[in-house]
């Protein structure tokens, strides 16, 4: 576990060592810490929009003794796994645009309004809480569900943002977005008894149905 202050010191050290300014996006537990939902996190999840910047970050971290590790251990054989590096109790998961089944879309980048500038050269923008839910829905690790519940319980969620973003994700080719969100809402209502309107879950399943029908039509046309 790494606390918010340890994380800050680590990022300042890296920011001062980076040879040029780079901008990255914090998602997951790190973003939750900055947004006040958590006091510590197991790993630091960052999304880069260019491979050059991701490599530069990794190289800089490696100069402090960080070692690359196999992401299959944590993420299994999922697509778009991050590059992972660790040292002692801190681990970085470095994604490049795609986070497993989701793309860190331009609208997600726009919603990341909080900016934190560490040392000279490391700028981290913090993903919006709605997008954290979407990403956590995609990574689906054991503790992600707990994090989602925490965000939904504590803050006001505008479900329309999630519906619209899921639509964008499907357009970007992330076909499972409606399904995953539908399943999540269902679980939050039935298993965790959260106060969410059933209509929201239904909306995702309606969109999923439309998506399937559209696909069928396309197949029929081809035949």
């Amino acid at each position: 576990m790494i606390s918010i202050n340890e994380q800050k010191n680590l990022l300042v050290t890296l920011g001062n060592k980076l040879p040029k300014q780079i901008t990255t996006y914090a998602i997951g537990g790190t973003a939750m810490m900055f947004l006040g939902f958590k006091e510590s996190t197991k790993d630091i999840d960052l999304v880069f929009t260019s491979s050059e910047e991701r490599n530069l970050f990794k190289k800089t971290a490696e100069s402090f003794g960080y070692n690359e590790m196999d992401s299959v251990i944590v993420y299994g054989v999922k697509n778009n796994r991050p590059m992972m590096i660790n040292l002692g109790n801190s681990r970085f998961d470095l994604f490049l645009m795609d986070v497993i089944d989701f793309t860190f879309s331009p609208s997600m980048q726009e919603r990341a309004e909080q900016v934190h500038h560490f040392g000279k050269n490391l700028i981290i923008r913090i993903a919006d809480k709605h997008d954290i839910i979407l990403m956590k829905c995609a990574t689906n690790r054991a503790r992600d569900e707990e994090d989602i519940i925490n965000i939904v319980k504590i803050s006001d969620i505008n479900w329309n943002i999630l519906i619209e973003e899921a639509k964008k994700q499907v357009k970007l080719g992330r076909e499972t977005a409606f399904l995953e969100m539908g399943e999540l809402i269902e679980k939050l209502i039935s298993k965790y008894k959260l106060n969410i309107s059933k209509k929201i879950g239904d909306k995702f399943y309606t969109l999923l149905k439309e998506q399937a029908e559209k696909k069928k039509k396309n197949y029929d046309k081809k035949v």
């Binding site: 800050k8 010191n9 958590k38 510590s40």
Partner: protein, 218 residues
Amino acid sequence: MPTHLSMKTQEMLNKISGIQTIESIKSALKINKRKAIYLIHSLRKKGYITTKQGPNHIRIYNISIENALGGVSYIDIINKYSPVKLSSSEVYKIYGREVSIEETIIFALKTRKLRYIIASLALFRRIKDWNEIYRLAKKNNLIREVGALYDLVQVIIPRVKKMPKFYLHYSLPKKASEFLYIIPHLKSRDYSLIENKWRIHIPFNKNDLEEYNYDINK
């Protein structure tokens, strides 16, 4: 250390985050003074509270989880030196280094927001590193803007030093240069001499700078 803030703590923080006094905390949480003091003590221990002295020696608390991170924002720097105060919900925090006056000026100009630019004028008289401001202004295409606003500051604030010759030499535009706007469509009625010298439209008039009628030694 627990991974999450407990739900109770989080809900309580939601209720009292922002500016508070002992009395307002007591009413918000419906607790007595002793409990309120203990709460402030424990939140301060976590770094969530910053305290300021208000009128009549009343303690004013700013409560936020973000306080635990520390850091400085450009707005903090502007508010420290300017008579024109800014308030913003935007979060831009800097950690692990001192934020210079020079980069704060460039930040304010880059926002292209009227109040930010007016507030930042107070910082121009504190420019120490002209090489740095030249470098930053050049990088952000703001060389003429900085020059024009510095000339303006010399008019509105007493005892401002002269601009170094090198800055003038490298920054003054040719007479045929196109006029640039600091804020699109906004130009001045009162500062046409400066505007013509730098070929820059200054986005405010004398009346907009009333807050600068202050004692500079304060």
